[in-house]
């Protein structure tokens, strides 16, 4: 598959939204537009938002809608070129030097090069989707290292020269915004801020993602989660937690717990912070009752 195929698939924002929905990912108009523009403009897509709003899921859904393999690079403090771009296989190089004896040997040959995610994506014969996850966890130096890749889809290996992408990859970066990203990185990307969905959309997502959850349950969970998120919590629940809550409550209900009680007993899958749990516990009954109406 080539870039032209991707452009054909992403014919319009509506087409993108429809195909994402077929991949079980409900995107609002803004996100569908941002994905459409990223594909059509051939630029990386930077998704920012609170933890749990579905940024990584969006990247997976894009890979699925385009029918491409997803290569994921998880960022962390201290990540550098050796983890993201390439590394030389030093042991093999040493052995080769020993074996070569008096003969000439190119220790920077392909067989000594270990391709890390970015290089893998550039050398892949088919277009791939690259997910650079949680870029805000990496150091500023790593961000600077990415700039060449993000603007020209190429990397420079000092011993080998510049390697360009065989087919231009689709790149998606995610950030939880625990630190401000460099302007140089932002301006190379198409940008979208993903917020929490409203109750109606969240209920749709729950219906889509959770197996065997009744519509009324999904709506009640969505309403209750909206109300819980409005409180000053250390870790507001994400969409995945809401789906888990609906699932868990349904399982408990089928096991014999009546409704409000099933929600209360399953709260551990929604709120995963002890302090949040103790602050929300006294009000939980009222929140659930209100959501069930």
């Amino acid at each position: 598959m080539t870039r032209a195929d991707a452009i054909e698939i992403a014919a319009s924002p509506e087409a993108v939204a429809a195909r994402l929905a077929a991949s079980r990912y409900l995107a609002d108009d803004s996100l569908a537009t941002a994905i459409f523009l990223a594909i059509r403009l051939g630029k990386p897509l930077l998704l920012e938002g609170a933890p749990g709003v579905g940024k990584t899921e969006a990247a997976k859904a894009v890979a699925e809608l385009l029918g491409r393999e997803l290569v994921r690079l998880q960022c962390y403090e201290g990540i550098d070129a050796a983890h993201a771009l390439y590394e030389w296989n030093y042991q093999r190089q040493l052995l080769a030097i020993r074996h070569a004896g008096e003969h000439e040997i190119d220790i920077y040959d392909d067989r000594f090069l270990i391709a890390r995610p970015l290089l893998q994506v550039l050398r892949a014969p088919e277009q791939r989707v690259l997910l650079v996850d949680e870029i805000d966890r990496s150091d500023h130096e790593f961000e600077a290292l990415l700039l060449e890749f993000l603007s020209d889809f190429q990397i420079s290996i000092p011993e080998r020269g510049t390697i360009r992408a065989a087919t231009q990859p689709i790149v998606i970066l995610t950030s939880n915004r625990t630190r401000e990203l460099a302007e140089a990185l932002r301006r190379r990307c198409v940008y979208h801020w993903i917020g929490y969905p409203d109750a109606a959309r969240e209920a749709e997502i729950i219906m889509l993602r959770a197996g065997g959850v009744a519509e009324a349950t999904a709506r009640a969970v969505a309403n209750a989660v909206q109300s819980i998120r409005a409180r000053p919590l250390a870790k507001p629940p994400g969409i995945a937690e809401a789906v888990e809550w609906a699932n868990a409550a349904t399982i408990l209900e089928k096991g014999g717990s009546p409704w409000p009680e099933a929600f209360r007993r399953a709260i551990g899958v929604l709120i995963k912070d002890e302090e949040d749990l103790s602050s929300i516990a006294p009000e939980l009954g009222a929140i659930v009752e209100e959501a069930l109406v």
Binding site: L37, D139, P232
Partner: protein, 378 residues
């Protein structure tokens, strides 16, 4: 210029909008303006919403300035003559961040509002800021090496106690024509932890805030990664202002940023507001956090307790420096202090620059928890 003249007439409004944003201190690169026009073309545009979506995706305003962006969009494309200005409700904790040039540009506009704020600026700049010879220079120089350290994931070369650095060893071997000299070693680097100072600028701290801001300036100059916020009824980040080397200029800039000097205290809600911004609360993670406040919270202190508990869970060490502790008769007797004492690592004297400098320089040294010490004193 010539390019702009040659531009198709239909493209002019979009370029004009990019220029308007640039004029209002949004960092819009030329390639972003080009992408904006391409995006508009790709989307049709079928409606004004398409233009808005294209602008949001390509000109990438940060979420903090989204409202300002929307205001400019409405005023430019809809001719909205009275764009709604950010609310000034005092019962809501507002968060403010210094943004270099942006703040400078907005400065005069705020002064025009008149009396109240201007007098606050004047008052502050006339306070202790001009004095010198307080030992803060020495404090700043000692700070980088005095802060608690942690092992980074980055590595440095070492002569002993390390793992084999194959990358560097191999290049040595190649340059030595295949001979193997002594192998090179590396180990994980020790880096100083972040220092986070949260300065209470409420009325009850009036006598001390000037000294605290001076100390914060020395800390930002001395430490690699120091962050400073002020809080009273609002929360303000003043780190960038304090990065200016010249102290007078830095303090004047910081003074202009803070709107709530010598006002009331909403310590709990403002600290919770600090924690609710992921970028800010990330400053506290693994950091040495020092709160400079008397912790005299009005009314219910449950918010304060929650905020301190969350800060304590994030921080490497959480200290409260209160000027009240300068009095030998002081004891943490208020309900708020009693509630937060078990959560603090240190409750120390913050009545003078000297005592505060000593506290901050000793943060790397282990000490018994605040509760243990104060029980012993009692």
């Amino acid at each position: 210029m010539r390019r702009a003249e040659n531009l198709p007439r239909a493209a002019a409004p979009f370029l004009g909008f990019a220029m308007l944003l640039r004029h209002h201190a949004f960092a819009i690169a030329p390639e972003q303006a080009t992408s904006f026009m391409q995006a508009v073309t790709l989307l049709g545009p079928r409606s004004m919403n398409d233009i808005r979506e294209a602008a949001l995706a390509t000109l990438a305003p940060s979420p903090d300035h989204r409202e300002e962006f929307e205001t400019h969009f409405r005023s430019y494309f809809y001719g909205d003559a009275n764009p709604s200005i950010e609310g000034e409700e005092d019962d809501e904790t507002r968060i403010k961040e210094d943004r270099g040039a942006r703040e400078e540009e907005h400065g005069p506009a705020r002064e025009e509002k008149g009396g109240e704020l201007s007098s606050a600026l004047e008052q502050l700049s006339n306070r202790d800021f001009q004095r010198d010879g307080d030992g803060l220079g020495a404090f700043g120089r000692k700070l980088a090496s005095a802060l608690p350290a942690r092992r980074s994931f980055r590595t440095i070369r070492t002569r002993s106690r390390g793992t084999l650095d194959l990358r560097r060893s191999l290049s040595e071997i190649v340059s030595a024509d295949g001979d193997i000299p002594s192998p090179l070693l590396r180990r994980r680097q020790l880096v100083p932890r972040k220092l986070l100072l949260l300065i209470d600028v409420s009325g009850s701290m009036k006598l001390h805030t000037a000294n605290y801001v001076k100390l914060a300036h020395a800390a930002v100059q001395g430490a690699n990664r120091a962050e400073v916020f002020t809080f009273g009824t609002r929360l303000t980040r003043i780190t960038s202002a304090l990065r200016i080397r010249d102290r007078d200029q830095a303090l004047a800039r910081a003074a202009a940023l803070v709107d709530d000097w010598d006002g009331g205290t909403r310590m709990g809600p403002t600290l919770l507001a600090f924690l609710s911004v992921p970028r800010f609360s990330a400053f506290a993670r693994g950091a040495a956090v020092v709160i400079l406040s008397d912790a005299l919270e009005r009314g219910d202190h449950s918010d304060l307790e929650t905020a301190i508990r969350r800060l304590s869970a994030r921080a490497f060490r959480l200290s409260l420096a209160t000027p009240l502790a300068g009095d030998p008769r002081f004891h943490p007797a208020t309900a708020a202090l009693r509630a937060i004492l078990p959560l603090l690592d240190d409750l120390v004297d913050g009545s003078s620059v000297k005592s505060l400098s000593d506290v901050i320089l000793s943060l790397a040294r282990p000490a018994p928890a605040a509760e243990t010490i104060w029980k012993r004193v009692a």
